[in-house]
Symmetry: C2
Subunit: 303 residues, 2 copies
């Protein structure tokens, strides 16, 4: 049976060269050089079988790609550049070496697009007969590289609220295949006109709440202006309206940002205005001639 | 039912202050300041229910402590100082907020001992009825802080092989309660006399192999010199000898290092000599008057 260190040996031969990596896979820790004055950003995100993907349906290469892109999307939201990643993989026993390699290659598909080397991590296995399911966790390091990272807490009353693309229906497949808005986030941050930014992972109605809470403001979303992704119209009909899908579906991984009102682009990044920041604290939705509280129906994990 | 963001709100109120943390829990990524010229070390390790602990038996505070200490032990092996950690937690639904807090406080028990703030991460849940089990993954960042990190690859023929404490029988409880040798690793690295170092997580017979492979050398272990932990004698008798337990049990989290031969301490750190580095490539064990190959019976995850 193939085992952990067959995989680690293979990983050791996969390493991209990077001027920032002094020691990569194969020691207790990787060793990176960090430029003087460069802020270090760090965060972690994970995908769970049966929650974020279905290993019975989705190929491992797309699963690996998704967990890395979720992390790269967090770099986008700060306007910072991915620098390195580490990963832990918990595999059901019997998964096999080829499957593990496909997971890794999927992560590399995502990370290589932004020159982000995978420098370390850990591989373990558990028994599927007692419930051990596939789990991937990635930690991303990013560098500020000459900008101030854009936080969630800078939105001010009167700011416009924007998204970088149409929303909703990602369950049809986009949640696995999206491109994180690293380039757009960087350009927006460099403009110095963005007051707050977050990536849309849990749905606009929930992610906007994070900006409002951290900024101490409220918001008014104009339902007619929220751009609907074509996927929304392709969804099988259910009890939710098209707008509700766009507001609550989640895993769009577009950027949600606040900036001066009245923009339709910033630098070369097209923007969709969807509302405005208010004194608050309420989050309101104006749609169909009515203004009502915007419920937080996006994704939240029960504990 | 309590949910993810109740926990995140609580986490946001738990944050220790640190001069290195500009932004902690609560944004897309944490923001750290990094001192000029300080090498950045990074790695990740995980614990899986039913493999590294048993949630039916072990309290959550010790489970959290273990996953953090496994990572801190990797800092020890490089001679570097813990700087920050991030964590992902995958919880079976119904675990509850109090249990999640206990996991976090256990991580803090371990991390606070080395002034290592937990600056971010992610919490998710999956259904235990379809196999979702408790999984924790921690990524540790460390700083070189004025030394050259000690790698696995510097062992040379003629070096002595040492451990920092007696080995074996950690399954009786020490695998959950050990203290990572961060202080000792630092002192040893500062001496500039250590040629290679690793922490003993998978058992001496397997971890020594990593040093030999990276260094391109062999080794001779002198069985009579391997220090047996009292726990070995307390184990229920089985087919393994006391020495075999010390060589193969794993999760000791003492340091295994190579340095000039003939030492019994280095700086103020007591050392147990257990053999010597050879031209190799074989790893040999001399015991009971015989010299035979040292089998790699320590822990390895099947894939």
């Amino acid at each position: 049976m193939p085992a952990e260190f067959d995989f680690v040996d293979w990983l050791g031969r996969q390493q991209p060269t990077s001027p920032h990596v002094a020691v990569g896979v194969g020691d207790d820790l990787a060793v990176l050089r960090w430029d003087a004055g460069d802020l270090l950003l760090v965060g972690a995100d994970q995908v769970l079988d049966g929650v974020h993907f279905d290993s019975a349906v989705h190929p491992p290469r797309l699963i690996g790609r998704k967990v890395m892109n979720r992390n790269l999307s967090d770099c986008a939201a700060m306007g910072c550049l991915p620098a390195a990643a580490v990963c832990t993989a918990a595999l059901p026993k019997g998964t096999g070496l080829d499957y593990a390699k496909q997971l890794h290659l999927g992560m590399r598909d995502a990370a290589d697009a932004f020159d982000c080397p995978i420098v370390g991590g850990d591989t373990a296995s558990w028994s599927p007969s007692t419930g051990g399911r596939l789990h991937l966790s990635v930690t991303i390091l990013a560098r500020s590289a000459g900008i101030e990272p854009v936080l969630r807490g800078g939105a001010r009353p009167g700011d416009g609220i924007y998204v970088t693309g149409p929303l909703g229906g990602s369950i049809l497949g986009r949640h696995l295949t999206f491109t994180p808005r690293v380039r757009e986030g960087r350009v927006l941050a460099k403009s110095s006109r963005v007051t707050a930014m977050i990536d849309l992972s849990d749905g606009l109605s929930r992610d906007l709440r994070h900006i409002c809470q951290r900024s101490g403001v409220g918001a008014l979303i104009l339902g007619e202006q929220v751009p609907l992704h074509d996927d929304v119209r392709r969804l099988p009909p259910d009890s939710r309206s098209l707008l509700e899908h766009a507001l609550h579906d989640g895993e769009d991984h577009e950027l949600l940002l606040t900036a001066p009102a009245g923009l339709d682009q910033l630098a070369d990044v097209p923007l969709w205005p969807v509302g405005m920041i208010t004194q608050g604290p309420e989050l309101l939705l104006k749609a169909g001639g009515k203004t009502l509280p915007l419920p937080a129906r996006g994704w939240e994990h029960p504990l």
